[in-house]
């Protein structure tokens, strides 16, 4: 079954391909819209940033795709509603505090964004949240493909979302994460990207998703070598972050060169569901809403994501 991305919307740090997106603290913070224009202000007051980002992206995506109610809502998040989780845990550790605030507790779970979307749509359809660290979005996409191919549903709203909080900064520093990264590390980021996916033909076709099952990434290298024509105006997005973890890309770089390559984390920062940003960027590039001046208009984009000791992933999109 051919699957297409019928609509997409993202909230991220991205402004343009020519601009350095990291702020002066070396982090990538989202450029947020005026949420009051998108979400009922009465609902906004209780929502944390990640909930606002997620719900606003979901609403705008459905608008773009002209879908009233999707038949499934699938969200992906590596760290969930981190701000509320942090608030709740910090207060819980205070021995003087004998009563916990309910809001932070209620909203600290990973599927809060998915739940908010369901409540907004007044929909009790299939609703699932995937949280598999850096592979959360890929697993959510796999579920999306399986649901559609099995004919269980006809349309899926899929999203990837993570937020950057002060607590995350602090904990990362304590764990010496920053020091472990090399000097070229692009920096931590955050973002929300949603997609409406179905079999209804649209300009962007979802060709394939591969989650590699072996250490040598055989299925991915086989796909690139045997099923792809890399000379066909191909652009490759890699999830390289400018740090030590980029060693994981060495093997694949031998196979793909000299195909034009973009390191997409230069535009959104490093966060668990950043591959959802890469899919959004691929969609806008394929539809010529964002133009690369250094190469001809691509006809297909391969998103390659690799972390040491984890399955590598490949997402292949093409323009119809």
């Amino acid at each position: 079954m051919d699957l297409y991305i019928n609509g997409t919307f993202s909230i991220s740090a991205f402004e343009s391909l020519q601009k350095q997106m990291a702020d002066n603290t070396g982090t990538f913070t989202c450029i947020e819209p005026d949420y009051k224009q998108i979400i009922d202000p009465r609902l906004l007051r209780r929502m944390s940033r990640i909930m606002r980002m997620g719900l606003a992206s979901a609403i705008k995506t459905l608008e773009v795709a002209n879908v009233q109610t999707p038949q499934a809502v699938i969200t992906a998040t590596g760290l969930g509603c981190l701000d509320d989780t942090g608030n709740f845990l910090v207060k819980m550790c205070d021995p003087e505090n004998r009563m916990m605030n309910p809001t932070a507790f209620i909203q600290s779970i990973h599927n809060t964004v998915g739940g908010q979307i369901a409540m907004h749509l007044k929909s009790n359809c299939y609703n699932n949240t995937f949280t598999q660290d850096v592979l959360s979005f890929e697993h959510a996409l796999l579920d999306t493909i399986m649901l559609l191919e099995e004919g269980a549903v006809e349309s899926v709203l899929l999203g990837g979302i993570d937020e950057l909080t002060e607590l995350k900064h602090e904990l990362s520093s304590r764990l010496n994460k920053a020091q472990k990264e090399s000097a070229g590390y692009y920096g931590q980021g955050e973002g929300s990207a949603f997609f409406s996916i179905s079999a209804v033909p649209s300009p962007v076709k979802l060709e394939t998703l591969i989650l590699s099952q072996d250490a040598k990434q055989t299925d991915i290298t086989d796909y690139i070598s045997n099923q792809l024509d890399l000379t066909e105006n191909t652009l490759i997005f890699t999830g390289k972050c400018g740090g030590n973890r980029d060693e994981a890309y060495k093997h694949i770089e031998e196979i793909i060169k000299p195909t034009a390559t973009i390191e997409y984390k230069k535009y959104c920062g490093d966060y668990p569901t950043s591959s959802s940003f890469a899919v959004w960027l691929a969609c806008v590039v394929l539809q010529q809403k964002v133009i690369f001046t250094v190469m001809p208009q691509p006809k297909q984009i391969i998103i390659y994501h690799a972390y040491p000791y984890r399955p590598h992933t490949l997402i292949h999109l093409s323009v119809c």
Binding site: P41, R42, R45, R46, N97, R98, M99, M100, N101, P102, T103, I106
Partner: protein
């Protein structure tokens, strides 16, 4: 009493994140839930926690709590009575 009512309004605004509301916007006699401020059950829980944390008052009887949380004025009366 007036000072307590003003403090309560400020605390409710801060605790419930009513960012576009000023204490003067809240009618002391208007219902907190439903038509008035339009608060809901999670807000009720937040107010219960506020009473305990800021005033050391624990609501143990649901009916008593319901009466106390009708408006800012009834809430102030309840606090005064309990602290008296």
């Amino acid at each position: 009493m007036e000072q307590l009512i003003y403090n309560l309004k400020e605390q409710i605004i801060e605790r419930l994140n009513l960012s576009d509301t000023k204490p003067s916007d809240i009618d002391s006699d208007a219902p907190l839930f439903g038509d008035g401020l339009g608060l809901d059950s999670i807000d009720a829980l937040e107010i219960i926690v506020l009473l305990q944390q800021a005033y050391g008052i624990k609501i143990t009887n649901a009916e008593e709590g319901k009466k106390a949380m009708k408006s800012v004025k009834t809430l102030a009366d309840y606090i005064t009575e309990k602290q008296g």
